[in-house]
């Protein structure tokens, strides 16, 4: 591949600064004492401490899974800071009270933190290291009956709701990293949409890891009651460190009868440098339960960052006629590794799912799609359509597809399509011979490739995601 294309795919990371904010930090290491420390810091009720301790004890019996198609040195779980919160921690009533240093950080990141920007229609919950800093636009949401804020607040203000749903989709012992998260999660977002309410604006959470060697373990829970609708956006960045940081989040979604949850992620955690030093290990469990009839959960993810991305946003299609969707763009460059995909578990009859996955591998990176489509014995007339496309840029990157299909009902229809393509010299030359430079050519090819996924993103996120792909690959996507 030519030198120009090389330079295009080697754009520097723009969120790699560290904010100098005094932090309230737990000592490194994990023990029951750490967990009690976190729980006490957050003033949690006894049942939640028990939830954590139970998860921790279970975690101790578990082994770190090694089946994904990624390579990394063993993680020393005693070398991680499990709690780091920016000071001061006084309760904030309005945006003006946010630490100016923090505000400048989010301004640099381009987060619409100000009220006037929030007027654009996005309510933002910001998670800085471990703790939710502020939630904008609470009033208008409250008028609609929507509860949206940090998990800590929800535990305090709506303990019954949290207790009713927490761990019902991803049980504390579900997997190694979910168990770890259940033990040490420090904050996250909680969102509850009451019966029949269409959430009046897009909800958004912005995650940032700031402290070196801190892990981020946030926990998100979204519940949509009968006939409710919510669109939720999640964005993430982290500063540059030479060490690796662990991000092990859990996201649980619950959709009751005819409810719809649309969950979109633009993930741009620090990916490490060109040699693979540093970067985030993004080991996340995301799962949605379509509990009610005709409910719908739709995951859209644009994964561009992290040294390693390892996640499978999934749908359990329990309610009759429920629908699960997964739209994904995963871009890897340099030494990045991604093993990502989805699970569609069809339990109820007439359930439908759709998987559109687009992997882009550049540099010396490795990008795998791994997905499971499971049709249970009672899932009469279940339908799945999967399409997994890979695009290779340059000659040193790799792409793999691991589709698993398990069908236990003969009336089911499952379709799977996969393609692999390569941005080749001939294609680029074709553009050039028409006067179009290489940068614009790559941009147009990539945009064409990801189009089916980007149309699923809310408008402003689609713009941000396009910009991000641009930063990763060249300068003018968008």
């Amino acid at each position: 591949m030519s030198a120009v294309l090389q330079s295009l795919i080697e754009q520097p990371y723009r969120h790699g600064f560290v904010t100098d904010i005094e932090a309230d930090t737990a000592p490194k290491g994990l023990s029951e004492d750490t967990i009690r420390f976190i729980s006490r810091k957050k003033g949690e009720p006894e049942w939640l401490l028990e939830f954590r301790l139970k998860a921790y004890r279970h975690w101790l019996t578990m082994k770190e899974p090694t089946w994904p198609n990624v390579k990394y040195p063993r993680i020393d779980f005693q070398d991680i800071i499990y709690y780091s919160a920016p000071k001061p921690k006084a309760k904030l009533a309005s945006m003006d009270e946010v630490d100016p240093e923090l505000r400048r950080t989010f301004e640099k990141l381009g987060v619409p933190l100000h009220e006037q920007k929030a007027l654009a229609g996005v309510a933002v919950d910001v998670i800085f290291d471990s703790v939710s800093v502020t939630t904008t636009y609470k009033k208008r949401l409250a008028d609609a009956g929507v509860i949206f804020g940090s998990m800590s607040e929800a535990v305090r203000d709506h303990p019954d709701l949290v207790r009713k749903y927490l761990g019902t989709v991803v049980p504390p012992g579900d997997n190694f990293y979910a168990a770890l998260n259940s033990a040490v999660f420090t904050d996250g977002s909680f969102c509850y949409i009451p019966k029949g309410v269409k959430c009046p604006m897009e909800l958004s959470t912005y995650f940032r890891i700031n402290t070196e060697s801190s892990g981020q373990f946030e926990r998100t829970l979204i519940v949509a009651e009968e006939g409710a609708y919510v669109s939720y956006l999640e964005g993430c960045t982290a500063p540059k460190f030479d060490t690796n940081q662990l991000h092990a989040a859990v996201v649980e979604l619950v959709a009751l009868d005819r409810a719809e949850i649309k969950y979109s992620t633009v993930q741009n955690w620090y990916a490490g440098d060109e040699e693979g030093r540093g970067g985030i290990y993004n080991f996340v469990t995301k799962r949605g339960l379509c509990r009610g009839a005709a409910s719908k959960i739709s995951w859209t993810q644009v994964e561009t960052g992290s040294a390693i991305t390892w996640k499978y946003p999934s749908c359990i299609l329990q309610g009759e006629g429920s629908v699960g969707e997964f739209y994904s763009v995963a871009l890897t460059n340099h030494k990045q590794q991604a093993d990502t995909g989805t699970k569609m578990i069809h339990i109820g009859p007439n359930t439908r799912s759709r998987i559109i996955s687009k992997g882009i591998s550049a540099g010396g990176s490795n990008n795998s799609y791994r997905g499971l489509v499971q049709i249970g014995p009672k899932a009469e007339n279940a339908r799945n359509y999967s399409q997994c496309d890979s695009m290779l840029i340059g000659g040193a990157s790799g792409a793999n597809t691991f589709p698993y299909i398990r069908v236990q009902n003969q009336t089911a229809k499952v379709e799977h399509e996969a393609t692999t393509s390569k941005i080749g010299e001939e294609q680029l030359f074709y553009f050039q011979s028409r006067g179009i430079d290489m940068e614009a050519a790559v941009s147009m090819i990539i945009n064409g490739f990801v189009k089916d996924v980007f149309t699923q993103l809310p408008m402003e996120f689609a713009v941000e995601a396009g910009r991000l792909l641009g930063l990763k690959l060249e300068g003018s996507v968008g």
Binding site: F429, Y430, S433, R434, I436, M444
Partner: protein, 259 residues
């Protein structure tokens, strides 16, 4: 049309080039003036396609010696896209497929890029749609090709029409058409040739690269050059093409060797 006083567009002197380490062109010279139609003929592997690709800047072809100027500018100092903006065009023998990129989008980007380079107005998608449909009609192309991915699933003939459509849109000063007749049935050939003929003006020029004579029944060349072994071994008028059709290429090569 030959006019001795016409402006020189392309001047190639002793051009040698190689691909993957193998010398393909071994000293080719050619002068093309405004208003002229040239045909470069020759057996397979004689270097005719290489000559066109090397001049428009294909990255696989390495220039080892010689010079080429286009309207006085040194071609080899320009990137491929700059040569296109300067007015060079290549109609590909095998146009590449670009999945996921809508033809309409691609054509508009190409058109606007060239327009901008000429200091002319660009067109928005709606304006462009009207504009391109008109051009397509002349080529007998179904407008449905606008919504399809560039060249993807196009038949050989459809790809060739799409190339000539681009030529019609970009209005190059000098167009190389590489085996444009291959893959076309006789009716399609006539349509494509008519379109090309309409694009010929006293200010531009065309170089047809072709193995067979049949295209030259429809687009009349002012000069016919025969290439063999990486050199132009004979140059003549349009009658030379007919002679080649009757006698094959061997006699030219033999004549050149004897000389």
């Amino acid at each position: 049309m030959i006019r001795a006083d016409a402006r020189i567009l392309l001047e190639v002197r002793n051009l040698s080039a190689r691909v993957a380490g193998i010398e393909i062109l071994k000293g080719v010279s050619l002068t093309v003036r405004a208003g002229e139609v040239h045909a470069i003929m020759g057996p397979n592997g004689s270097g005719k396609s290489t000559f066109a690709k090397a001049l428009v800047g294909h990255p696989a072809y390495e220039i080892t010696s010689g010079a080429a100027t286009f309207e006085g500018r040194n071609l080899f100092e320009l990137a491929a896209e700059e040569r296109a903006r300067a007015g060079l065009f290549l109609g590909f023998q095998y146009p590449v497929e670009i999945p996921g990129v809508a033809n309409a989008q691609f054509l508009r980007l190409a058109y606007n890029t060239i327009q901008a380079a000429r200091g002319k107005d660009e067109l928005d998608p709606l304006e462009f749609d009207d504009f391109v449909r008109e051009k397509m009609q002349l080529l007998g192309m179904d407008p449905a090709f606008l919504d399809r991915s560039v060249n993807e699933g196009f038949s050989g003939g459809e790809k060739k029409r799409n190339e000539i459509l681009q030529m019609a849109l970009l209005e190059p000063k000098l167009a190389f058409l590489d085996e444009t007749d291959s893959g076309l049935d006789i009716d399609a050939l006539r349509v494509v040739a008519n379109s090309v003929n309409r694009l010929i003006t006293p200010d531009n020029a065309i170089v047809l690269v072709t193995h067979y004579q049949r295209l030259l029944n429809h687009i009349l060349p002012d000069y016919v050059h025969v290439m063999d072994g990486g050199r132009i071994v004979k140059t003549g008028g349009k009658d030379l093409a007919l002679e080649l059709e009757n006698r094959g290429y061997d006699w030219v090569a033999g004549e050149a060797a004897a000389a």
